[in-house]
């Protein structure tokens, strides 16, 4: 419940960012750098260039969610079909599992390093690196679901009716993997949000002056002692997003798996 409310809040902030933010997040006010939080006109104060921290926070949350959604989409679009194929046909399973091992051999930061070396840092590349890193887990989960659903009576029934493999996969198995897929999406989202912050913090993700919570943190490190709020605010933003998805995901998992709930009590 708390997770759902927090999640709704975070999503609303991201969607309504242009309405909520009093300033353009990149707009500098050279006359008023390092304003304290609560200053008139600057709710959370300003940074070294006099940029409004609240506006940057709001737009930063928006960028975080953008990267998260793109990463989830990528891992779903690639992971789901491969998981279905691996689960349904055993001979494909061996090939897909080996490809999975190869992907797993590259930690996400290394994928990001490679992408940045090839085509430069950007929001898109950050999302692709994070998305690729989560494909193996997606494949494994969908594969596991497929293996389980494949043995259920309705699939066996469909097979005796001479339904083709493709038809069984799309009509009978795919819709039943939806809940596992949604739960996994709530796992990827917070990881992607932290991943984006890490990449942007290191200069491998979103590029300034575009707003990002990671860039805010890396800027704030330069003047950490002069203005701790500039470092505290973006961190709280990231934590709020992750907490929202973690709590919501936990609740969703419990709701979809009654056994887990009863065991917990």
């Amino acid at each position: 419940m708390a997770g759902g409310i927090l999640l709704a809040l975070v999503v609303l902030v991201a969607l309504l960012a242009p309405l909520l933010a009093p300033y353009d997040p990149a707009q500098v006010h050279f006359a008023t750098p390092f304003q304290k939080p609560g200053t008139v006109g600057f709710l959370l104060g300003t940074d070294d260039l006099g940029r409004d921290i609240f506006s940057r926070l709001v737009f930063g949350i928006r960028s975080s969610l953008e990267v998260g959604v793109l990463a989830v989409l990528l891992s779903v679009v690639i992971g789901t079909p491969l998981g279905l194929l691996a689960g349904y046909w055993r001979w494909l399973d061996a090939i897909i599992s080996r490809l999975n091992d190869v992907t797993l051999a590259f930690p996400f930061l290394i994928i990001a390093v490679g992408l940045v070396a090839i085509s430069g840092p950007s929001l898109g590349n950050a999302a692709v690196a994070i998305g690729i890193a989560h494909i193996p887990a997606m494949i494994r989960i969908i594969r596991g679901e497929t293996l389980r659903i494949k043995e259920s009576d309705f699939v066996i029934g469909a097979r005796t009716m001479d339904a083709s493999g493709g038809r069984i996969i799309f009509q009978h198995i795919l819709p039943n993997t939806a809940s596992a897929l949604i739960v996994q999406a709530t796992v990827i989202m917070p990881a992607a949000v932290i991943g984006e912050a890490v990449l942007s913090f290191l200069g491998l993700g979103i590029q300034p002056p575009a707003p990002s919570l990671g860039i805010m943190l890396s800027d704030a490190q330069q003047y950490l002692f002069r203005s701790p709020t500039a470092a505290i605010v973006p961190g709280l933003g990231i934590a709020a997003i992750c907490l929202a998805f973690n709590l919501f995901g936990d609740a969703l998992r419990d709701a979809m798996d009654p056994a887990a709930t009863s065991r917990k009590k």
Partner: protein
């Protein structure tokens, strides 16, 4: 056991080969023509061709691939295009820093995670469990590098307990070296500790409600004995798996931690090489991490099968 090991080794070998192909293809995708980079923009087509044939770039791709693997197997990683230093020297200088940091962080994470996990199980429904669960949720939700910034601000600068940055070689001065690494290791270990905590707690709850623990209790075995012999022993399997699964995250985390605490490690080498487009170093960094990661995972799997006999027996 032998059958399990040979399958596992075989899979790792395939992964290594495929990963090297991916890296080889990745290097071809890097922008810029190496021949132009060596000869300069004004070089004539004949000069460029000469350099290409000297570098073997006019050979068919499979031949180039085997030449690439051959050089790697001889330990030839090339030279940094920026400083001219052999890449192997750069690795030798930076890897120990990161390995000490990672090892320290793993120790911190395992001790804290297992301890808090056991506490959460022992005191279910009471305040120590809430405390432990709260720590887990924060550890999972709060980015460690942000914690790092706060730790520098409050623990290092305001309270003065730890140095805010800097590195002393652990090999030459272990006490000072570890002292300098303490704050970075705590920060890097937090996320891992949270994951270990959750899994330890879940596995302890499961083990403690099994029939054999009930039997042991009925036999009159003491609580401590049951905890160590049955509870923790089973949790150990989970912990080993988690550490193996989380290694990728740990490597990424180490890069960030090194950046925050200005440690002269492998992460710094990685970032410097990307920002200066030092391709031989980028290639080496990716190779070292990938190969290291595959080998460590192999080691984890073997260790796993040693601890848990069911895997050895039931492998097919």
């Amino acid at each position: 056991m032998i059958r399990y090991l040979s399958t596992r080794l075989w899979h790792s070998a395939i992964t290594l080969v495929l990963a090297s192909v991916v890296i080889f293809i990745g290097i071809r995708q890097l922008p810029g023509d190496p021949a132009i980079a060596m000869a300069g923009e004004e070089a004539s087509p004949e000069q460029l061709d000469a350099i290409r044939s000297k570098l073997g770039l006019d050979q068919p791709l499979p031949v180039q691939y085997f030449a690439f693997v051959g050089r790697l197997l001889q330990g030839d990683l090339g030279k940094s295009t920026r400083t001219g230093t052999p890449v192997t020297d750069l690795l030798a200088g930076t890897l120990p820093v990161t390995l000490w940091l990672a090892a320290y962080a793993i120790v911190v994470a395992v001790v804290a995670g297992v301890l808090l996990g056991v506490v959460a199980e022992r005191y279910r429904g009471r305040w120590p469990e809430w405390l432990s669960n709260g720590f887990a949720l924060i550890g999972l939700s709060v980015p460690s590098f942000w914690l790092g910034l706060l730790a520098i601000l409050y623990l290092a600068v305001n309270l003065g307990w730890f140095p805010a940055s800097g590195y002393v070689d652990v090999g030459t001065n272990p006490v000072r070296g570890l002292y300098y690494l303490t704050l970075p290791a705590l920060i890097l270990g937090t996320g891992l500790a949270a994951v270990i905590l959750r899994q330890t707690r879940a596995s302890m709850i499961e083990t403690m409600s099994t029939d054999y623990v009930r039997t042991a209790r009925a036999k009159g075995l003491g609580g401590g004995r049951i905890l160590f012999r049955y509870g923790l022993r089973n949790s150990l399997i989970v912990v080993v798996t988690i550490v193996g699964l989380q290694l990728g995250g740990l490597i990424s985390g180490a890069v960030v931690t090194e950046r925050i605490f200005a440690l002269p490690g492998f992460g710094k080498l990685t970032l410097d090489s990307v920002f200066t487009r030092d391709y031989p170093v980028i290639q080496a960094v990716v190779l070292v991490i990938t190969v290291g990661y595959i080998l460590i995972n192999l080691a984890v799997d073997i260790l796993y099968s040693v601890i848990n006999p069911r895997i050895r027996v039931g492998s097919n």
